[in-house]
Symmetry: C2
Subunit: 583 residues, 2 copies
């Protein structure tokens, strides 16, 4: 995470002088070429095959997935006392924030992927990768059942059963259709690299079909009606990319049909980009209006047939239909079937998402961890543990908490229940003692003492600060790094626990719980304009944040290869435009 | 074709100083970027829509295909008095000589393609492109029937019927399976861009399957047995590329299975690359042996099942089977079904390939031209026209030809029957009079006079010089340029014919017949070694000709965009190696 904080520090400088960021991109890449070349040539192709007894002594870690969380875990794992097996149907890591750029050829698909074997093969740890898809987790017997995704030609070898000591579930999510009829069959999604490639082919296909000589104007209009469902960052970025692709490149090559093109963005809420600052939402909506992108908010999709998409106005319930050429569905994420099956098995059947504790451990399964989009952290409420907190803090068993007692317990409470810290920050209080004082009125500091009921009352608002983490690459990457760090220090920390006090039990937790640090978010809006919302509610919109976006994304890419490729793709697009060959 | 002759002149210089060619590549591209950028920005996106009566007066030219022949025709067409419609299921031109490089990711697929609309849209001619596939040619009513390749969603609009005044058939060929059972179902081909992409995915797939934990060594051996059928330039280049991919990149990432990899090249003839100079064949065979590529010559494929390929030794008829992971079939070309149907219609049912005359006109169809891989020129034999030639040359009707008469007729005969010129060249004679002298013995030049029987005898060997042109990009491109040149000067030449004398008729032919000029051929052999055979039987093998190959291919690419892309792909590969992500 070092790069992010560096960027953070530099961001102010960049805002004042955008050409600085341009230089950063250039240096990042030209320097990278040399480094990568020397790395590639010095890489040792020999492999140490460990003797069987060494392997058997090592703890077996099975990682499911090769996305942000899994890759970040593997990159940060440094302890060689594990035998790691990575299982995923995709033998590569994809830099998903650039997927919308791939849909229109601003960036090539291959530029944003890196083979997982490339990422792990230089490490001094036994990491094996199997290209297979997990279809069943057996928590009781500590086994995962996987199937090689290749059909046939394997004579029954396509099923693999793998034992584990620790299981890291990082399989990501699938697109959420909300069970809307026809979506699965007729819409395109934007989750995987293949999806982006398919969208690219379909866009060109629509233009070619509209150009056929026998088409009527009405048919042309239908074929060139592009519908994007979902006004989140992905949907908005895709709509903007598509608009740029059409207006910068395709109009030149398809002049006869250019007037029939229409891009419609459907959003069920009142505004697009509603997780962003209001200034960004307003800017984006105004920009889309200027660009001629048809924005329909408050409009819910109820059905998609093979030629029409039906929407319902949330205000008045009115149903209307739009004949379309292509629909891209981007309305958030849903749980994969294998995870749902697993949830039933472990008694989480009534939940919508797999729940973990603050240490990313799946509830009721000590040796299974889940991170990234496939799980959420079920944060412990202060109110659930309030009596235990009180009695642990009340060291002299007096039945009341004094300021001294409270101050001693403060760090542990804040560490175990992060909502407490948030509560203080939002109320602009410097520490927990202020809470006590607030609830007791304006008395002298030393005289403050609360009984259990007063304590409950003082903390009654704290749990409202709890929020689920967003399903972003940033969260997944931080979780992966956090878990790797725990695995790296497992032995040490089991001897000397470093976590907060246990309130429902004895001693301390082995590790500090996971804490997410938000470094800001981008929303590219097309036409070299990007909105950026950085920590401290600092908002920047326009060309300079586009260059900041270029710099951050270039620096966050997983390898020097992808870095050079993506930057050269940007250069290509700048010079030659985007390619419209249908491959 | 200007670049080729320039290259020819420079090639000797390059041989002495290979770094010169490296510089050429660099300059070609860095300069190109600027040119392309200014071109891209100055390109006029307005389109002139001609008024209907202008269109109706124009002759309609329909071009089937977007390959080498069709694209070369379109690029060279300059006469704006035609209304041109291009129909092809591929909306791009692909630089096919680099297809073997795409199979292993040395070059990206998108780097070697250029949208056909991009190629034609800057021209001052009405050129329209429809993405559709021709399924029937109706020569009698001058119509072609096409189907938009997109299935469904077009409500019966997928069929297009197009009228033409002139039809240019340039649809290329399909892979020739020689009706070997199982080839169609189980083998991969190397004709289209999609084929190359599929091969790339399959290679990685084989390595992933071999890496699965449950596989036995025998199964690993089978999955990593790559078979290439056909020892022509494409098959040899692919085998070499695959060997480089495995030994330079994949062994690092799949160390546990590297020893199971085997590449086998099957060739029915006695040697690979048999159209090349013997020195090249020997070098290639020795290099393959050093590289560990298993070369089986004299071995014919008789059957391909889903797991084994069966071959028959031509020497002793012995049948043997090889279990395989992937078979790439590259044994030459066959005729497409729509062309076969058309041949039946015009009375060429007994031929294997569509025949044209020396002016690329389909025999018995005056307004249909066929070029590239879908047709061959059926060269007229001297012996068929011998009496007509004799009587046209015998101006004084004396019944004998004198030296004077013969010399006067000489240019016309040589132009109409190119085999005559070849015969003279190969016999090292300076002109036709030498033929007469040879057949009459050593008499004085003026005394030579032949009657018809003596004349027949003198020319009896001439027709043995006739050879079919190879099915290469070079031939197709020259044919396209030739035909465009005819179309450019159609009106002028119909008034003042410039072709040779008609022997079976009156007057002269409208145009000079097509003549192929061979500029040499490359055979890349892997490991930065290329064999080059240039005109005058100049043979060069090794690193220097690899750089000549880089230079020539970079300069022959269709646009500055593809040029920059291919060269940067080469650079990427040099620095970062080839990517092994399965996308």
């Amino acid at each position: 995470m070092r790069n992010w904080s560096m960027i953070e520090r530099f961001s102010e400088t960049f805002r004042q002088n955008p050409s600085l960021s341009r230089l950063l991109v250039v240096f990042t890449v030209s320097g990278g070429g040399l480094v990568a070349y020397s790395e590639a040539n010095s890489s040792n192709s020999e492999v140490k095959i460990p003797s069987p007894e060494v392997v058997s002594r090592k703890k077996k870690v099975v990682v499911l997935g090769t996305g942000w969380a899994a890759t970040s875990f593997l990159k940060n794992l440094k302890n060689s006392s594990y035998d790691v097996q990575v299982i995923s149907p995709r033998n590569y890591f994809a830099f998903t924030p650039l997927l919308p750029s791939v849909t229109c050829g601003t960036v090539e698909a291959r530029s944003i992927v890196e083979p997982i074997r490339n990422i792990v093969h230089k490490k001094n740890i036994d990491i094996h990768y199997w290209e297979a898809e997990c279809f069943k987790i057996d928590a009781e017997n500590k086994k995962v059942f996987c199937r090689s995704s290749k059909d046939g030609k394997l004579n029954g070898n396509e099923e693999i059963v793998v034992d584990y000591d620790y299981l890291v579930v990082a399989m990501g999510a699938r697109a959420n259709t909300f069970n809307t009829p026809g979506v699965e069959e007729n819409c395109l999604f934007l989750k995987e690299v293949e999806d982006a490639q398919k969208i690219r082919r379909t866009v060109i296909d629509c233009f070619e079909r509209a150009s056929l000589p026998k088409m009527t104007d009405a048919e042309r209009q239908k074929v060139l009606q592009f519908v994007v469902v979902g006004g989140g960052p992905t949907g908005v970025e895709f709509a903007a990319e598509l608009h740029d692709f059409v207006s910068e490149d395709l109009v030149k090559l398809y002049p006869k049909v250019k007037d029939f093109v229409k891009i419609t963005l459907l959003e069920a809420g009142d505004h697009i980009l509603n997780m962003f600052d209001k200034r960004i939402t307003v800017f984006a909506e105004e920009k889309f209006q200027r660009d001629g992108i048809d924005l329909k908010t408050g409009s819910m999709v109820v059905k998609v047939s093979d030629s029409e998409i039906s929407t319902k106005e949330i205000k008045n319930g009115q149903i209307s239909s739009i004949p379309y050429g292509m629909v891209v569905w981007s309305t958030g994420i849903g749980t994969r079937p294998v995870i749902m099956e697993f949830m039933k098995q472990i008694g989480q059947a009534n939940r919508r998402v797999l729940a973990t504790d603050e240490w990313l451990r799946v509830e009721r399964c000590n040796s299974i961890y889940a991170l990234g989009d496939c799980a959420t952290i079920n944060q412990r409420k202060v109110m659930e543990d309030i009596s235990a907190i009180f009695s642990k803090a009340d060291k002299d068993r007096s039945g009341t908490l004094t300021v001294k007692e409270f101050q001693d317990a403060l760090d542990d409470i804040c560490e175990r229940y992060p909502q407490m810290q948030l509560y203080l920050k939002n109320k602009q209080m410097s520490n927990l003692v202020d809470i006590l004082k607030e609830s007791k009125g304006d008395v002298a500091k030393e005289a403050v003492a609360l009984n259990i009921e007063e304590f409950k009352l003082a903390l009654s608002q704290v749990d409202f600060q709890m929020k689920n983490l967003p399903a972003t690459a940033q969260v997944a990457a931080q979780q992966g790094a956090y878990l790797a760090n725990c695995f790296n220090r497992m032995e040490k920390c089991e001897k000397n626990p470093e976590g907060p006090l246990r309130y429902r039990g004895e001693g301390r937790h082995t590790f500090r719980p996971f804490r997410y640090k938000h470094f800001g978010q981008f929303a590219p809006l097309g036409g070299e304009q990007t909105a950026a919302q950085l920590p401290g509610d600092w908002v920047s919109i326009g060309h300079s944040s586009q260059w900041l976006w270029y710099s951050v994304y270039a620096s966050k890419l997983v390898s020097w290869r992808t870095r050079a490729l993506v930057v050269s793709d940007w250069g290509r697009r700048f010079i030659f435009g985007r390619d419209s060959s249908q491959i």
